[in-house]
């Protein structure tokens, strides 16, 4: 049986693309607040990256709380230091760092990660 040999460079490129695509998709948990389990919450339903820091902090902490409540391991889910990407009601998005799950202000928007609606 004959096998067609691919050039080593092409092989490496394909594997490299697979790794980069996988890393991009897997690195961050994305929470879509327009989904039914979040959209009716008063501090989430109309949220945008343009809202004041404090409002986004409270909203993101609440979203993270409901995410944890659904997980099978709430203590280790979204522990302090974790980051999540939150997509707000208007489609704008930002990365949020968890600082303290026991505080209503325990989530901090990461400066420079805010994205306008796509």
């Amino acid at each position: 049986m004959k096998y067609k040999r691919t050039r080593p460079g092409v092989n490496l490129l394909v594997w490299g693309l697979v790794v980069v695509a996988y890393a991009a998709a897997a690195a961050t948990i994305v929470i879509e607040t327009r989904s039914p389990e979040y959209r009716d919450l008063s501090r989430v339903g109309h949220m945008t990256v343009h809202a004041p820091d404090e409002a986004r902090r409270l909203g993101a902490a609440q979203v993270a709380a409901l995410y944890r409540a659904r997980s099978g391991t709430p203590f280790s889910t979204l522990a302090p230091g974790s980051t999540i990407k939150v997509v707000w009601a208007d489609g704008s998005a930002e990365t949020v760092r968890i600082t303290d799950p026991a505080s209503p202000l325990g989530a901090e928007p990461v400066p420079g990660t805010q994205q306008a609606p796509e």
């Binding site: 080593p8 092989n11 490496l12 594997w15 697979v18 790794v19 996988y22 890393a23 897997a26 690195a27 961050t28 948990i29 389990e37 009716d40 919450l41 008063s42 501090r43 820091d53 404090e54 409002a55 902090r57 409270l58 902490a61 609440q62 993270a64 709380a65 409901l66 995410y67 944890r68 409540a69 659904r70 997980s71 099978g72 391991t73 709430p74 203590f75 280790s76 889910t77 979204l78 522990a79 302090p80 230091g81 974790s82 980051t83 600082t99 303290d100 799950p101 026991a102 505080s103 209503p104 202000l105 325990g106």
Partner: protein, 309 residues
């Protein structure tokens, strides 16, 4: 090993590591990783050796009772009235009153920002059918009742709380100083200060200082054992600090502030509403093979205070 096999093997290893990171962050712990988790949680004796945070022999004793001002935070049914009393003490320079005031601000911030929205969200959450939904509703109602007289104009925000804790820390509140470290706003920069602060918290036996510093002792402190001490750097070590605070006299009962805050703000609620924090954490936060490990960590933390673990 043939060279052409090397690349695929490396890539498979990399993909495995990339897959593990988000699953770990999302709280997934596969059975195959249990042993590894225990290892991560194990106290870093090497770090302890260099940091100087060592076990000290001490006579075992019971945790001292909380002061009446501190008991007020757990027992008051009207935190607005309680905060007025605290303000009076704080204006007279009482550091603990300043710290307790920041706890009231933090406890009530979610409600005070929008009282009617808070009530609406409670109704929305009731319809979600969460497994710990009953406990979350009870906890939210407790916050709503205790914080009822606060309004958005009270302006409870992170800058306000940081400012309040900074004042308290300067006035001598160790708990406030520990909280600022956990909020990544330490009074002083540098590892020497952090190391010395951890040692002061350990020596103090102050339950509020133990709780306040706990967030930084979790996985966020991973790889900083030399600065943060032997019990740091994993989810289990954070739980150990909190359990130790319970042993030191913190109110860890089902209706206490710790369980309420965890449930309302973190979504971490016990399905058994009779469980206190220590029981709940062991039940839901500690893998069976890690139980002895946590107990050992709690013992290590309490050995500094001389309180019976």
């Amino acid at each position: 090993m043939p060279r052409k096999l090397l690349l695929p093997i490396l890539l498979v290893g990399l993909l495995g590591a990339l897959a593990w990171m988000p699953l770990r962050q999302a709280g997934w712990t596969g059975v195959a990783f249990v042993d590894e988790g225990v290892d991560v949680a194990a106290p870093s004796l090497e770090g302890a050796a260099t940091s100087g945070l060592r076990l000290q022999p001490a006579t075992l004793r019971q945790a001292p009772a909380l002061s009446s001002l501190r008991r007020g935070f757990e027992e008051s049914t009207d935190l607005f009235a309680y905060s007025r009393e605290l303000m009076m003490w704080a204006s007279a320079g009482d550091a603990d009153a300043m710290w307790l005031l920041s706890l009231v601000q933090d406890y009530c911030a979610g409600f005070a920002a929008d009282p009617s929205g808070y009530a609406q969200d409670t109704r929305v959450i009731a319809k979600l059918g969460l497994s710990g939904g009953g406990a979350m509703l009870s906890a939210r109602q407790r916050v709503q009742q205790r914080c009822a007289r606060f309004v958005p104009q009270d302006g409870f925000s992170l800058p306000m709380i940081v400012n309040q804790r900074t004042q308290a820390a300067h006035a001598g509140s160790l708990a406030a100083e520990a909280a600022l470290l956990a909020m990544d706003r330490p009074l002083q920069a540098g590892d020497d200060y952090r190391r010395e602060l951890v040692q002061r918290v350990l020596d103090s036996g102050d339950p509020y200082a133990f709780v306040a510093i706990a967030p930084v002792m979790g996985s966020v402190g991973s790889g900083r054992g030399e600065t943060l001490g032997e019990v740091s750097g994993s989810d289990l070590s954070e739980i150990a600090w909190r359990i130790a605070s319970c042993r030191l006299g913190m109110d860890c009962s089902p209706g206490g502030s710790m369980m309420t805050n965890y449930c309302v703000n973190g979504g971490i609620c016990s399905q058994d509403e009779t469980q206190d924090f220590s029981t709940f954490a062991r039940d839901a936060g500690v893998p069976r093979q890690g139980e002895d490990n946590v107990e050992e960590m709690v013992g290590t933390l309490l050995s500094h205070t001389g309180v019976d673990g």
